[in-house]
Every structure is written in C-alpha cells, then in structure tokens.
Subunit: 357 residues, 2 copies
Amino acid sequence: MTTDPATDDRSTGVPIRPSGATLRDVADAAGVSKASASRALDPTSQYVSSAMRARVLDAAGRLGYRPNASARATTTGATAMVAVLVSDIRDPYNAEIVHGVIEQAGASGLVATFAGTDHAIDDEIRVVRMLRSLRPHAMILTGTRSGSTVSRASLEEELARYTQEGGRVVIAGDDELPFDTAVVPRRRGASALVAELFRLGYRSPALIRPDHDSAAARRWEDGVVEAAGRLGMRIEHDSVVRAPMTRDGAYDAAAGLMVRRPEHLDVVLAATDTMAIGVMSAMRDAGLTPGTGIGVAGFDDVVGTEDVTPGLTSVDLALARVGAAAVELALSESGDRRRVEFEPRVVVRGTTPARAD
Amino acid sequence: MTTDPATDDRSTGVPIRPSGATLRDVADAAGVSKASASRALDPTSQYVSSAMRARVLDAAGRLGYRPNASARATTTGATAMVAVLVSDIRDPYNAEIVHGVIEQAGASGLVATFAGTDHAIDDEIRVVRMLRSLRPHAMILTGTRSGSTVSRASLEEELARYTQEGGRVVIAGDDELPFDTAVVPRRRGASALVAELFRLGYRSPALIRPDHDSAAARRWEDGVVEAAGRLGMRIEHDSVVRAPMTRDGAYDAAAGLMVRRPEHLDVVLAATDTMAIGVMSAMRDAGLTPGTGIGVAGFDDVVGTEDVTPGLTSVDLALARVGAAAVELALSESGDRRRVEFEPRVVVRGTTPARAD
DNA sequence: CTGAAAGCGCTTACAG
DNA sequence: CTGAAAGCGCTTACAG
C-alpha cells in the first residue's frame, strides 16, 4: 500500500454541503462593510466603535453566524488545530494523555484532531502526510512506535518537511525523537517509588517486569535499579522475574516467587498496576495478605486501583498533564529542542504500610 | 461562562505559519496551468492526458506537495472531516467507540476531530457551536449526557441549526435524540445473554445492578427481565440488588447475596464486567468457586476479562462497529431518521458452564 | 485534453 | 473609526 506522495485524496464520495450565514450576510444585516464586520467580530481588534460592534454582534447572533474556519485558515495560513497521532486510543495510558491534550487545546482555542497509527511507523508516515494537508499548528506524537530503521528515517524526514513548512512537532512520551518532548516520567517515577518504600522501611524488593523489551519497561526498571543502588537496597538476581504483561502473567510469576520466597524479600514491585493486581491475587492464594509481611506496589495509577482491597500503592505519572504540556510546548516559540518533565506522584496505599522494624 | 454566540474566537495567540509548496508551484514545475495541475492531482478526474498527469505527479512528489485542505474546503464548502463529541475519552466504553470512528473515518478519507464535553449538555452546546466553524460533514455524539430540559432543548436547537446548514448529526449510543442513531445494543445484548444462559440450563438468576438510574443500566435490566419473563425464568424480588458501579460495590452486594443465598439461585448477572469481577471475588471469599454451582456473567466485554480465572462470560457489544457504523450513517444520504443496531455477541467462558441437570 | 477566469469566505494593509 | 480592494490556495464551469 505504498501511496504515491503526490497522489491526491479528493472525492471520497462525500457530498457537497450548502453553507450557513456568511460574513457578507452579517455585514448586510448590520448595514456595514465586510471589513468592519470582520473587525467587530474580532475581540482583539482595537479600532471599532462600540456602537458598530454591538450592531454586528447582534446581527451575527440573530443569524446564528459561525465564521468559516477554512476560509479563515486559507487567509491566515494555518488552522487553529493540533493534530495528535496516537497508536491506540483504547490503551488507557494513551487515553489519559489524549484527555489532557483535548482539555488544553480547548482552553487554548484550538481543536484537536486524532489519527490512529496502530503502532506501525509506516502508518504514521502516511498519517503525517495526510495531516499536513490540514496545516495544523502542531502535530503531537504519542504512544509507542515500532518499525525498521529505514521507516524511522522516513518518518523523521516527513516530520522535518512539516516543520520546514512552519509546523511544530511535539512528542508526548518517551524521549527518543529529536523534537520538543513532554516526557512521561517513568524512570523518575520508579526511582521516587523506591525512595518512598525505603523511607517506609522496605529493604529487599523483588521485581516483576514485562517479558518484552519496551522502552517503557526498560525505563521503569532503570529507575528502580538506580534508586535501589543509590540507597543501598539489594536486589537479588533471582528476584527479578519476567512475565507477560497481564494480570495472569504476573500472577504466575508471583506465585513462583512466593514458593521460592527469596530470603529477605519484603516488597514486590510490578511494572504496571494490572500486573500488581495479579501479584496480589497470587499472594492471597498462597495464604498471604498483601501489605502484611510483604508489600506490593504497582505503577502508572491509571486503571481502577481504588477498587482493590487493600488499596494498591502506585505512582501517578500525571499523564493528562503530559498531554497538556505537549500542547503548551506546541504553542510556545522555541529556538532549540526542549524537554519538560513533571514530578510523578507516589501514592502510598494499604499494600505498603510502614514497616515496624 | 455564557459565551455570546456571536463572539469570535480568533487570536488565541497562535502564530501565523509560512506554508509549503502550493498548487501554483507544482503547476510551474510541471509547466502546466493551475487548472491542469488540479485535475491531474484528482484521481477521479477523467479528461487528463496521462503524460501530463505523470509530469504533474512527479513535480508534486519532488516538491513534497500537499494540497491545502482549508483552501479546498473553502472552495467546496465542507471539510472532509467528522467531528466527534465525546463525554470522556478515558472511559474505555467511549474509547472503544472512538476507535471505531477513527478507523472508519480513515478508511473513508475523512479525518476525525474530537472535543470533550464532560457529560454536561451546556458544554456540548458550546462545543457544537465551536465545531460548526469547521464545517465538518458530520457530528457524531457519543457517551452519556446530563442536563436540564432547557439545556437539552438548546442542544437540539444548536444541532438543528447545524443540520440546516447541511451538516449531518449521528448518535452513537442510546436512542434518545431525534437523529440517525447507531445503537449500542444493551437491551438486546442482555436478552441474548439470558437466552444463552437459559440454554445452558440456568433458571434462577440474581441481578447486581448499578444504584444510579442511568439509561445504560436501565436498558440492561430491561433486557434481562424481558428475556427472563419470556423464557419463564423467575427473578425473585430479593434477587435484584443495587450497588455502586465499582468492583468493591459489587463485592459487598454479592457478599450479602451469598449469605442470604436465595433458594434456587444458580447464576449472578452483573451489569458490567468490572462489577462481575467483584462478584467473583466475593464468591471466592465465601468459599465458592465461580462457575461451580453458581455461575457469573458480566456485560460489555471491554475490560480485560480474559485476565481472570476462570474466564468471565460476558457480552461483546461490538462498540467499535457502532463507531464505524456512525461514520457510515454520516456519509450516506437519508430522507428520514435511521437506526442501525448490531447483533451483540454473547461470549461464554468458564464462569457459566452448561449445567448437568 | 488544456487554460484563463471567476469565485469560495475570510483578513488585512491601504486610504480615507 | 470605516470601507474598497487585494489576496490566501484551491476548484470548476466555460471556452477553446
């Protein structure tokens, strides 16, 4: 499906529509020129008599006038829009970021447009090409992407073209493409979690991590290991277990861990909340109560962890704020590449009470 | 925050952008007129010599030309876009529908735009007004909405204005606004579930339903009751329990139910999968195994029910297809109000084995 | 099959 | 403070 870059995408069978009231109509109804009507409708325009503005506003209201954004955009050169490329909107992680984008875009008077890319870089290239037509102020890339090095180069090239046209590109997620980035603070969050657990008296963690090697999983593990090393906590080699990134995968891994029970083990860290819930079940089925004796902590705080008992300690990555920050980056000028990262918030709940000793 | 309908929303501080190659540039590079270039780029245009088309396509490719969608839209009158109003994208139920919309829109050569409305009708009115500026081909409303009767009337009025301009309005969800609707088959799905359970030998269900009176909850209960009545299954009065729509809410309700244990109870139906998972926990904690003796069934099949053991019987509402169908409704002509509804799919898993008797 | 011209609905210098 | 005019980048009859 190699689309010729020059091929057009007109005529999708979409019918032409009649339009509503136009600036001309408003001007006529108010008895002024189009130019004046345009100025009266622009809240930032200075030189307009309030009498005329009132007349124009009144006429516009009566006619239900809405400015034609396309016409405006062909005049001004760009659409008041940010385009978001998201791998899969059904992933709650992405949905949270997207939510932040929508909110912030709305607050900034922009509309947000989305295109799915199904994790494939080749898809993204196609989508970027399509979106360039809309002349959005910015494109925001979120979610993970996988593809060959060649594809990656083509994607960067297509994005570069877009920036040469004056567009802005912002990444919301991992810091791996050469553009402004609103970072999802995985590494920092994992470190903060470990530091907090240390403060609560925990000393010997086990890790349940996904068995695939995603950037996300790697950053979580890096953060954990970094903080543990710094604080002098020991992570035994056999206390790092790989498992499928599901509740059941983590259940099995944790069940095995509970049988072996490494000597000083006092807390199990799972790479996601969903996995942590599997860990809790495995502990229960092994006759243990999470938080009593051995603690449990998750990561991401995006699924309904408030629903489990006892409450699951986790890390809030402020994903909605990441999305909002991406929009802000897109709207502010910049000379060189920028990077914003929020402080993640460790949320201590019942699964990691302070240890008595 | 009553926005004057006539007030403009220009000048959000968004900078003007330079643009890329233009049709003029392509025409010049190919040595033809703008008109010819335009036709050559239009795959449906008949009267173009293939020699010229080749030259133009080549030039466009070299220049990285992308047609300006805004200019095209001001010429043709409408944007190749569907606008989706969604109450909260973080709700997996909505995310699934939205996913279907994005896919189908992409396949139809349209882009999809989203605006959040936070469940409030007044918000939706504001958003519809804003979106009208974009002249999208259609607006798709999804998710639940709450608001006064007055607000509801204003919303319908604003939407009517939009349809008068030639726009199309489609609902993806419950059948309660006077527009084309892609129905989420809750009622039908609940009936089908009960029929299937009947076939498997179940005769005495208990119901755990949300304690608030949403349209969704009502439709589920209606479907259950209808099928049960039709099949001669009895639902005892004290076997319908209201509970908060969370795992824990359902847990408590089910725990109470297990203590009382209505005489012939053989299956517990929960209004959502999340609630069903709470029911399963309560049963376990009461020393029972879900599916052995008493069955459990959820609804929606949207959360990761494949992760629980035994697998949870549920109903797949085909939400992505609902989203896709909404786009299709938006693109096809219609005289009067239409309504499409898919057959939901009952997914039988380990929690409801066939009963021996 | 191809080109010159008009027009879509707006905004923005440029003159008053 | 107000208006006439030009221009944004396209598409589409209308003549060749």
